[in-house]
């Protein structure tokens, strides 16, 4: 009986002591869950090709882009293109949700007006390489054509793109963008279509400075003379992306760019251009 009591006492003491140390602070750190959406490329677009990046719901993005038509080969005579003429695009994007951006853009080439929607579809965070998949669809209307077109409906163009983005070591972003364009050349008597396999890469030297390149070969269908290639630099500040580039394709709106380039970069017919985007919040 007595020995039982001693065991019971020791047990109780033990429990008391062990509970006491636990009871000191019962708060436990919770494992934090990373609910942030995967973000790879910094800018919502490469040079002409889109990336999967979107904006935060309610954000606007204003874009102004130029492509100077004389090639740099013409030298100082045209001040490497700055004397013009120039193709330009202005656009305003709006994030309907965190995953959907609608953009209305206008180019002075055939007064092309385009409305496009980009949707961030899937993300794979835990894979060997992170992967983002997005889609973009657009409709374009050429509101003032230089020559008559076969029928009024032929002033409309449609395009669709699937965007695959990955990033190696948070430094090298890689994109593959299979694209389809309906009615590639509005002036042809019959409807032309183009399938292209866009590819882009961007290397981020620092948080604000990167170099980027793009290649958009036509794999099937209509090609306006040459496959498009472009390369340049990107500067990123608080709300801006500045891109200064060289390209053989002077078209800016997707429905015009996807049909191909008119100059041959193989002969050094590069043109200067820039894209500037500004993030806006009202």
């Amino acid at each position: 009986m007595k020995s039982h009591s001693i065991i019971a006492l020791m047990l109780l003491l033990f429990i008391t002591l062990s509970m006491e140390t636990n009871a000191q602070i019962s708060w436990k750190k919770q494992e934090t869950v990373d609910n942030l959406p995967l973000q790879l490329f910094h800018s919502p677009q490469s040079i002409n090709l889109p990336t999967v990046e979107t904006l935060q719901q309610g954000d606007f993005e204003f874009e102004i882009s130029h492509r100077f038509l004389p090639s740099i080969k013409d030298g100082s005579k045209d001040l490497y293109g700055f004397d013009g003429p120039v193709n330009m695009r202005i656009a305003l994007g709006y994030a309907v949700t965190d995953d959907l951006v609608l953009t209305l853009g206008r180019s002075n080439v055939d007064d092309n007006l385009d409305l496009r929607g980009k949707y961030r579809l899937l993300q794979f965070k835990e894979t060997f390489l992170p992967l983002l998949i997005g889609v973009q669809f657009g409709i374009a209307k050429n509101t003032q054509t230089l020559k008559p077109v076969a029928s009024p409906g032929r002033t409309y163009q449609y395009f669709g793109q699937i965007i695959f983005n990955t990033m190696i070591n948070k430094k090298l972003g890689i994109g593959v963008v299979p694209s389809f364009l309906y009615n590639s050349n509005i002036y042809r008597s019959d409807v032309q279509n183009s399938f292209t396999l866009g590819m882009n890469a961007q290397y981020y030297f620092t948080n604000m400075f990167s170099v980027l390149a793009e290649f958009n070969p036509t794999v099937n269908g209509y090609l306006n003379r040459f496959n498009s290639a472009a390369f340049g630099i990107e500067l990123e500040t608080g709300g801006h992306f500045f891109k200064i580039i060289l390209t053989n394709n002077a078209k800016l709106n997707p429905s015009q760019f996807l049909s191909g380039a008119d100059k041959d970069f193989g002969t050094g017919e590069w043109r200067l251009g820039f894209n500037i985007t500004r993030l806006l919040k009202f």
């Binding site: 008391t16 636990n22 000191q24 019962s26 934090t32 709300g239 919040k281």
Partner: protein, 195 residues
């Protein structure tokens, strides 16, 4: 022998009921805000993602007191997606240092209006991989049921925590950042075990 057992039991109950432990109440209207008031651009970032505890023994708040609060910096929202990303990736580096925390003890308590208390605390502030000893004062007040509320405002210098002020054009960030916290806690009932 029975008396010893009873005494032992009473002592253990006494030990349990001695400390008061408050935990941050999740899902209540917790508010953590930083304000950067630079000459040409004022902005703030907000999150409700704060967790931690406040503990003391007895009635004078300072006996064996300890406290720990942490804020999940990844969830700070400045209202603009790109700015949030720049803040996370370029300045706070939240993939390496996801939380900011303050760990310390209560050093002084003085009664304030309406049953609330001015509480002085001293401890280690951890932000962006840097630990600094600082003193913070706040207002602790008793709310309904067994709930409490803490309000505190203080400032930190970004350079103290090796956070570079962006020298890039068009980014305006103040060197001195004002922090405003207002969050709720509940008392953990020790005799009912762990919460």
């Amino acid at each position: 022998m029975k008396n010893i057992l009873l005494l032992c039991f009473l002592v253990s109950v006494e030990l349990f009921s001695q400390g008061t432990e408050l935990h941050v109440k999740q899902g209540s209207k917790n508010h953590v805000e930083f304000i950067s008031d630079a000459p040409f651009g004022k902005f703030s970032g907000v999150t409700d993602n704060i967790d931690g505890y406040l503990y003391w023994e007895g009635n004078n708040y300072t006996t064996n007191s300890s406290l720990y609060f942490e804020v999940d910096l990844k969830t700070l929202d400045t209202g603009i997606g790109l700015r949030n990303r720049h803040m996370r990736e370029n300045y706070l580096q939240t993939d390496k240092f996801p939380d900011a925390s303050f760990k310390g003890k209560i050093t002084n308590v003085t009664p304030a209006e309406q049953g609330s208390f001015n509480v002085d605390a001293e401890g280690e502030m951890f932000i962006h991989g840097i630990t600094k000893n600082i003193k913070i004062s706040g207002l602790l007040s008793k709310a309904e049921n067994s709930d409490y509320n803490i309000k505190t405002n203080f400032t930190i210098k970004l350079s103290s925590y090796n956070i570079d002020i962006p020298s890039i054009m068009m980014v305006k960030l103040s060197e001195v950042i004002e922090l405003k916290l207002n969050f709720n806690l509940f008392a953990v009932n020790k005799t009912e075990g762990k919460k």
